[in-house]
């Protein structure tokens, strides 16, 4: 019965099931009672046979009372079973939502770098497939296993009471089954199941990638073939599955043949005939073996498949536990709300894996100033923006707002202080209004529209089928430039004292760019104390910045106003010369 002890341990030290422990335990207890009651007609048949065959007075009354008792026992047992199933399913339903929310909560505090290095496929597998495996555990496996174990125990106890020798014989197929099935289970250990999970995850990851990169797949893939990585994932899965499952077919089939009803029938009746012939047992004693012994395969199969489901659930639970144990980015320790607005970087370093992205960067962003960050692609500009936004923590040095380390500032307060237009526009599949109001869900419609007008996207939105209620990705398709403008409106709505624009105009065309710049200009002009950091390649646009910071290879190489930097004839001046060379003919025209 080590199976029993094993069964109720989904994963060592796991707290996944804690919320449903009480209803589960209750359900298991009731299930034991139900299993016993449901057996009553089977015992009844034997007693009925004895009564009917005995030629005695009052056998009619006796026979009918046996039938009545069977009816009563069965009805009560079935009613209890219904109750048990309802209880476990409802408990599970609540648990699934609880687990998904817990995962979401945990993931949203994981280091932002986790998401770039890990796939969204993994998140999806955890939240959908792994939670579903836990569902199976809670709603089905535990109760089914209890039922199977209780039924088997009751049946063999009863059979042993009827005749212990026959009961021993009837136990033989079960032992054969156990030996054969142990081979199957050995191949379905935690390691193998984890591998299965990983292979499946790889396939679903490859699907998402394949679908999202479809323009590239179509124009660079080979004729009639899906994306190579997808095909590889699929083929690898197939080889894994073949190699894993094929050797299991034989022991599994032999095991199920060992406890097949026909096997038991042959054994029990052969043995019964022999023992009756020897006079060791009465004929009626063979009857319960034929009736119940035949049905023993059902709970045994449940036990075995339940054990397998348990393995699956255990692997899923291990994955979930791993996600729930992700290191979280330490939440701001303090709850300060600094009055000052000066954002200061002091000797900030940042590495991602082995790659050192920022090296000893010190920078002061004062209220009412515009700072421009320029430099070759890959010089660490966007990483700097992420650190300023508190999305990642510097691996060395510190960043302060109003003299307070970002770590000590209340999160909500901080988010209200800083607006962001990212390099990569990301719109959510929700209404245009909600996309703009992402940072301020309670903004009024007038405010949302004002932001859209400032970002020059209002008129375009009105042309969408449902205006502001159109859902991005469903009935609102936007071009790259238009999406960019929406992203700017999003930041404008926040009306933050500090604004970070990361290559905000990279995808907009000249007309749109001018419109956006008007919006940004208005934003800066109407709030003279706003701090602005703009990251761009457009040197022309940032000549007027108070400070231009040139970043190269993760370090600041130059900083100062346009004129001063031009006079210095350093990196900044070189960038201008490169621009002039590439536009030489335009300038000449």
């Amino acid at each position: 019965m080590s199976l029993l002890a094993d069964a109720f341990r989904p994963s060592r030290g796991s707290s996944l099931l804690r919320p449903v422990r009480a209803p589960l335990c209750l359900a298991i207890l009731v299930q034991v009672l139900s299993s016993a009651l449901i057996l009553s007609p089977l015992v009844g048949v034997t007693e009925l046979a004895r009564t009917l065959l005995a030629d005695e007075a009052g056998r009619s009354r006796h026979a009918w009372s046996i039938v009545a008792w069977s009816v009563g026992g069965l009805a009560a047992g079935l009613a209890l079973r219904g109750l048990v199933q309802l209880t476990t399913h409802l408990a599970d339903n609540a648990l699934s939502l609880h687990l998904r929310r817990r995962l979401a909560e945990r993931l949203s505090r994981a280091p932002i770098g986790w998401f770039t290095a890990n796939s969204s496929g993994r998140v999806r597998q955890a939240m959908q497939d792994d939670v579903a495996a836990i569902h199976h555990l809670v709603a089905h496996s535990y109760v089914d296993l209890t039922d199977a174990m209780a039924t088997t125990s009751f049946v063999y106890a009863y059979l042993a009471w009827v005749d212990w020798r026959m009961a021993l014989v009837a136990l033989v197929p079960v032992l054969v089954f156990a030996v054969l099935y142990a081979r199957v289970m050995a191949a379905c250990g935690e390691e193998q199941m984890a591998r299965y999970g990983r292979e499946l995850e790889r396939v679903s990851h490859a699907v998402v990638e394949f679908a999202q990169g479809i323009p590239v797949v179509k124009s660079y893939g080979r004729q009639g073939e899906a994306h190579a990585a997808y095909r590889r994932a699929v083929d690898d899965f197939r080889s894994f599955f073949r190699a894993w499952a094929r050797p299991l077919i034989e022991p599994e089939t032999l095991a199920s043949i060992a406890i097949a009803p026909v096997t038991l029938l042959l054994l029990v009746l052969g043995c019964g005939v022999a023992l009756t012939g020897l006079g060791w047992v009465e004929p009626w004693q063979v009857l319960p073996f034929a009736v119940i012994g035949l049905g023993i395969s059902v709970p045994i199969v449940t036990l075995s498949s339940g054990a397998q489901a348990l393995q699956t659930a255990r692997a899923a639970a291990a994955r979930l536990d791993a996600l729930l144990a992700l290191p979280v980015q330490p939440a701001p320790a303090g709850r300060q709300r600094p009055a000052g607005r000066e954002l200061v970087l002091e000797h900030v370093c940042f590495s991602f894996g082995e790659r050192e992205i920022l090296k000893d960067v010190s920078l002061r962003l004062s209220p009412g100033t515009v700072t421009a960050l320029v430099g070759p692609s890959g010089s660490g500009k966007s990483t700097l923006a992420k650190l300023l936004l508190g999305l990642d923590r510097p691996s060395g040095g510190r960043i302060t707002l109003g003299g307070v380390d970002l770590q000590d500032i209340e999160t909500d307060y901080f988010h209200g202080q800083i607006g962001f237009v990212p390099q990569e526009v990301r719109l959510l599949r929700t209404s245009i209004r909600d996309n703009i109001a992402l940072g301020r869900p309670d903004a009024s419609d007038a405010e949302v529209e004002a932001a859209a007008v400032a970002a020059d996207i209002h008129r375009r939105i009105l042309k969408l089928p449902r205006g502001y209620q159109s859902v991005y990705g469903e009935d609102a398709g936007l071009s790259g430039g238009e999406a960019q403008r929406l992203s700017i409106a999003r930041a404008l709505l926040l009306d933050p004292p500090i604004l970070v624009l990361d290559e905000a105009t990279a995808q907009a065309d000249a007309e749109a760019e001018a419109a956006i710049q008007d919006g940004v200009r208005a934003l800066i002009a109407d709030s003279p104390h706003r701090t602005v950091l703009i990251i761009t390649h457009r040197l022309g646009a940032i000549k007027g910045a108070d400070t231009i910071v040139v970043l190269a290879d993760g370090a600041i190489v130059e900083a100062g106003a346009h004129e001063a930097l031009t006079r210095r004839d350093g990196a900044y001046a070189r960038m201008w010369r490169a621009l002039d060379t590439s536009t030489g003919s335009t300038a000449a025209a």
């Binding site: 009918w64 929310r101 077919i249 692609s377 990279a506 108070d546």
Partner: protein
């Protein structure tokens, strides 16, 4: 019928195998029924005390059992082979189909469904024959055989057993009907939630920057709750018929028990009584499998929902393929003739467009966002077919070309650069997997990717992350350009291919492309007009038509739309951030 649908998913050969498998399974179920029926005469003889007669009956029982074993073994093996065949076929078939679908098919909803179907969906379909169909067959056929043999022994008992079947069939039908009604909404809710999970993971940067980190955005949590509600509703609807099914089946056992009692009490002949009691042994073998019918039917319903999804995906219309493809063109000029196109019927993008790109020339496309520039590029790549008009390469209509031929002609770089997780090298080699190291380096040099390779610690073997997220926007663009150049196609299409690069790199890449001048037909879309200064011809696009066409000088002389564009651009270039200082107006040099 589920079998024919399964067989349609398989190849003809495997389809025949499926039929064979079903026959073997059927034979197994019948053999099992017949063998079990032998219990009645043996038990009857025993109860009558005729041990010798019972022993004689053991011989056919032994034969029957051996035959059943053999058939069971064959059937299980067959089921596994079918599962492997499905595993071999399904994922590749769907992948190959999907890659030929027009780009418009790849909505978030469809991508979500695709991912579920190819992951867990395929696994569920796989298990269908072995885990659902055969058990269901066994649960129906074996009892049916037993009822028939019961009729040979006693008509009354057979009748009593047969009467139960309509009731069982009714609950079965009821369970299916109710189940289907809630399944579709539960499936939809699950797919929606899955999609939201991917979105949640992919949008972390923006969610956190806007302070929605803790819980994700509202739509995400709403999707989780909706999924949970749908599942609970499914539970309330599905559980009652499931319970009813086992109630009806179990109660039927009692009715048979009562029937046997009544018949036995009327009789006084020991042989008849013994036979009636012996028949009760069989009755349990009739009832028990029937209680499981509803469970298997639920499993089949779930798998068939996945088959529905597969069929829906396979039914999506791919772009028509020519039955006899035209020979690939020898010249590579591209001609649009009166081409009209709209993504949605009410918003025309191209409207009777005429445009010719002479072979081995470079053409620049200019126009406001939404003017249809990217659409032209996508139509050349045949991501869609035009609604009206014709597009030809070297005088051959695009739709008459074999897809592979067309794709070998063109190398596009899209506005949204997509990289596949893997290394830098993998991503560039996608352009031409068999490219030599020297060719790889040449492409890297022209696209300025060599700078990135040097900077990254692992060089060419640096991982790029899911979707290329470990690289900056500019680095990704260089990869995409290198990939296109490596392909060595005679037609190069660039859609804002260098927008995220710094001016220095931009100039260098532009220089590289200029070296290809005269060797390939190039189409360049750029918002930065300076990158177009060296092209042979410029076409100005407005509202889906070409409004001006000519060389840079001709267009400047014309003083029309192009000049307006340049002025707007110049305004943007000359524009500087409003600051509280005296803005610098002049460009240096």
């Amino acid at each position: 019928m589920i079998l024919s649908r399964l067989s349609r998913l398989l190849s003809a050969n495997d389809g025949a195998r499926l039929t064979g498998y079903v026959r073997w399974s059927l034979a197994y179920c019948i053999a099992q029924g017949v063998t079990l029926a032998l219990a009645a005469p043996i038990v009857g003889a025993l109860l009558e005390g005729e041990t010798a007669r019972a022993a004689a009956w053991l011989v056919p029982l032994l034969i029957g059992t051996t035959v059943t074993w053999q058939l069971q073994y064959t059937s299980v093996r067959g089921g596994f082979e079918i599962a492997l065949a499905l595993l071999d076929t399904l994922r590749h078939r769907i992948g190959e189909h999907v890659v030929a679908l027009p780009l418009g098919w790849f909505t978030p909803a469809n991508v979500g469904r695709l991912s579920v179907t190819l992951g867990q969906g395929v696994m569920d379909i796989l298990g269908l024959p072995a885990h659902q169909l055969t058990p269901l067959m066994r649960a129906v056929v074996t009892p049916a055989v037993l009822i028939v043999t019961l009729a040979l022994y006693d008509g009354h008992m057979a009748l009593a057993a047969a009467i139960v079947t309509p009731a069982l069939a009714a609950t079965y039908w009821w369970a299916g009907r109710l189940g289907r009604s809630v399944d579709s909404s539960a499936h939809a809710a699950t797919a929606e939630a899955g999609e939201r999970m991917v979105e949640f993971a992919q949008s972390q940067l923006i969610l956190r920057a806007f302070g929605c980190g803790d819980h994700g955005h509202a739509a995400f949590d709403r999707a989780l709750v909706t999924q949970n509600r749908a599942k609970r509703r499914q539970l309330w609807v599905v559980l009652p018929p499931l319970l009813a099914n086992s109630w009806v089946a179990q109660l039927s056992f009692l009715s048979l028990m009562a029937c046997a009692t009544a018949l036995a009490l009327e009789d006084s002949e020991p042989h008849r009584i013994a036979m009636l009691v012996a028949m009760l042994v069989l009755v349990n073998r009739i009832v028990e499998p029937l209680t499981e019918v509803a469970i298997y039917s639920a499993g089949i319903r779930m798998a068939s929902a996945h088959i529905d999804a597969v069929e829906t995906i396979l039914a999506a219309r791919a772009l028509p393929v020519p039955t006899v493809p035209a020979p690939p063109p020898t010249r590579c000029d591209i001609a649009f003739h009166k081409v009209s196109f709209a993504y949605s019927p009410d918003l025309p993008v191209l409207d009777g467009l005429d445009l010719t790109l002479p072979a081995c020339t470079t053409t620049g496309l200019v126009g406001a966002s939404g003017a249809g520039k990217s659409t032209i590029l996508r139509l050349i790549a045949r991501f869609w077919d035009p609604d009206e008009g014709s597009i030809q390469i070297g005088g051959v209509e695009l739709h008459r070309l074999d897809r592979a031929d067309l794709m070998s002609l063109i190398a596009p770089v899209f506005q949204e650069t997509y990289l596949f997780s893997g290394t830098l090298r993998d991503n560039v080699l996608l352009g031409r997997p068999d490219a030599s190291e020297a060719e790889l380096r040449e492409a890297a040099g022209l696209s300025r990717l060599d700078d990135v390779v040097v900077r990254l610690p692992a060089g060419w073997d640096s991982p790029v992350g899911e979707g290329g997220t470990l690289l900056s926007g500019g680095e990704r663009q260089r990869v995409a350009v290198a990939r296109a150049l490596l392909k060595g196609a005679p037609i190069l299409l660039f859609d804002e291919a260098t927008g995220a690069l710094d001016p220095e790199s931009q100039a260098a890449v532009a220089d590289g492309l200029r070296r290809l001048h005269g060797r390939a037909t190039m189409l360049v879309i750029s918002h930065q007009l300076e990158t177009l200064s060296h092209v042979d011809r410029i076409a100005v696009l407005d509202r889906g038509r070409v409004v001006e066409e000519g060389t840079h000088d001709e267009l400047v002389a014309l003083g029309g739309r192009y000049v307006e564009f340049r002025n707007a651009r110049a305004a943007a270039e000359g524009w500087s951030l409003p600051t509280r200082r005296e803005p610098a107006r002049n460009r240096p040099g």
